[in-house]
Amino acid sequence: MRSREIPFRGGGFAPERIPRVGALAFLLLLAAWEGVCRAGLVSLFTLPAPSRVLLTLLEMATSGELFFHLRASLGRLVLGWSLGALSGVAAGLAIGVSSLARSIGLPLVSALFPVPKIALLPLLILWLGIGEASKVATIALGTFFPIAIATASGVDQIPKSLVRMAQSFDLAPRAILAKVILPGALPGVLAGCRISSSIALVLLTAAEMIGAEHGIGALVLQAGHLMRSDRLLAGVVLLSVLGLAIGATIGALERRLLAWR
């Protein structure tokens, strides 16, 4: 019988992170951008060099302007997101455990979830005025729905046998809620936090562009009107840093709270 070696065919399709390649590519991109600007290939109005943006950021930081905008935005974000998250978790738990809440809540939440909440801002301004309340409410609404849905599906994913187990030991319904349902739904809740935080950031920026004196959205919009693309990009960098920081915080929470997985 003819003999041949068995060829290897199990390679590929298992991407891994190659160390430092990502950072290097990022730096190369920045360098290319810087080069294009220095060579005078694009005007300052179109695209300022990264060094220019950085300088602007530093200037804004020393003058305190940066923190002024940041504080305004963070205040709205934290307040709106917390309100939406707390009520979203409560609604999601109710949908997860109660037939009545599920029958009423699920169709309602499913119908309203896909509506871009920024479309409701004009209505909210009519109701609450142009001030802080309408912006906070927009963010809260945008947070509420994804967290409610993620929490409810987190509850649904708890194996029924865990609830039966708790009942078999005569645990009171409240104890089952606190000791089985809530910790069991935590992965879902945190997934909802992650999704909703990026939605909240979008809504924050949009709401601040529609009617605000200060805040990062307002900063970006005003910079655009004044053709100060360096300030505009400084605002964009700020938003990116804010988004990354929120993501990292949620990641740290997940590692701490979901270490058992």
């Binding site: 046998s161 187990m165 078999s168 030991f169 910790p183 069991g184």
Partner: protein
């Protein structure tokens, strides 16, 4: 404690799933329940454990629970039903919370972990444990409440054959004295663990036979008892075979008694 099951029947969505059946489990008796798949074994345990509301009939619990008993009827689950976010000791402590003071709780958990040889793993999480150890946690959690009746729904079915062998003797030793209802689809297991084996018919499960196992438990592992145990097993299989075949070729009615 004595279990008295009277004219018990259960239906899901109007379709009969179990019974009617009458049965008395004497104090300290070990009863194995076997039957073809889907015949209502888990349903029976759910009814006895108060996790399902019977469509008809009733289940009575007679006699006094053992001193120190916190829950008269405790459960051991096929899938262990451990809370994955709790450590071993916290899982075992779960049924004691809101019932005992911290000191007594600690002492009971410590004793239960020692009996189930889990003391070294008190701080581990379930995912770090082997299947056999997970089920030992499930057993420790059931024993810690000092139940009068212990219900086991295929407690060894999720384990590999060797672990099953090891754990079987251990469970029997640990549960000595308790009234036991042990559901299994494993014939050897049934004749090894039981004083009596109840054989259920295909869905809706009714009692076809009750077969006593007239061999003292201590002798069941010995070679001399093997022939007799094998004979009993064969006797059960002859009775079960046709129903098992029918269940195997029938369309599956989906549904999980405890879901």
């Amino acid at each position: 404690m004595r279990l008295r099951i009277e004219a018990l029947a259960h239906a899901y969505d109007g379709l009969a799933a179990l019974g009617p059946l009458d049965l008395v489990v004497e104090p300290g008796e070990r009863l194995a329940v076997i039957g073809p798949s889907g015949c209502g074994k888990s349903t029976l345990l759910g009814l006895v454990g108060g996790l399902l509301r019977p469509s008809r009939g009733r289940v009575l619990l007679e006699g006094e629970p053992p001193p120190g008993s916190l829950v008269p009827v405790a459960y051991v689950f096929q899938d262990f039903a451990l809370l994955p976010w709790r450590t071993v000791e916290a899982n075992v402590a779960l049924p004691l919370e809101d019932r005992l003071g911290a000191a007594e709780r600690r002492e009971r958990v410590r004793a239960a972990l020692a009996r189930t040889r889990l003391s070294d793993f008190a701080r581990a999480h379930p995912r770090q444990l082997s299947g056999g150890m997970r089920q030992r946690v499930g057993i420790a959690r059931a024993l810690v409440v000092e139940p009068g009746v212990l219900l086991l729904d295929e407690p060894l079915s999720a384990l590999d054959a060797q672990t099953r062998e090891l754990l079987l003797d251990e469970v029997l030793t640990l549960t000595r004295g308790a009234t036991l209802v042990w559901v299994t689809h494993h014939l050897e297991e049934a004749v090894r663990v039981a004083d009596r084996v109840v054989l259920l018919s295909a869905r809706p499960g009714r009692i076809r036979t009750i077969l006593p196992v007239p061999i003292p438990e201590a002798e069941r592992g010995r070679p001399a008892a093997l022939a007799e145990l094998a004979r009993l097993r064969l006797e059960l299989w002859e009775l079960l075979r046709e129903d098992a075949q029918r269940a195997e070729t029938a369309l599956v009615v989906s549904g999980d008694a405890l879901a």
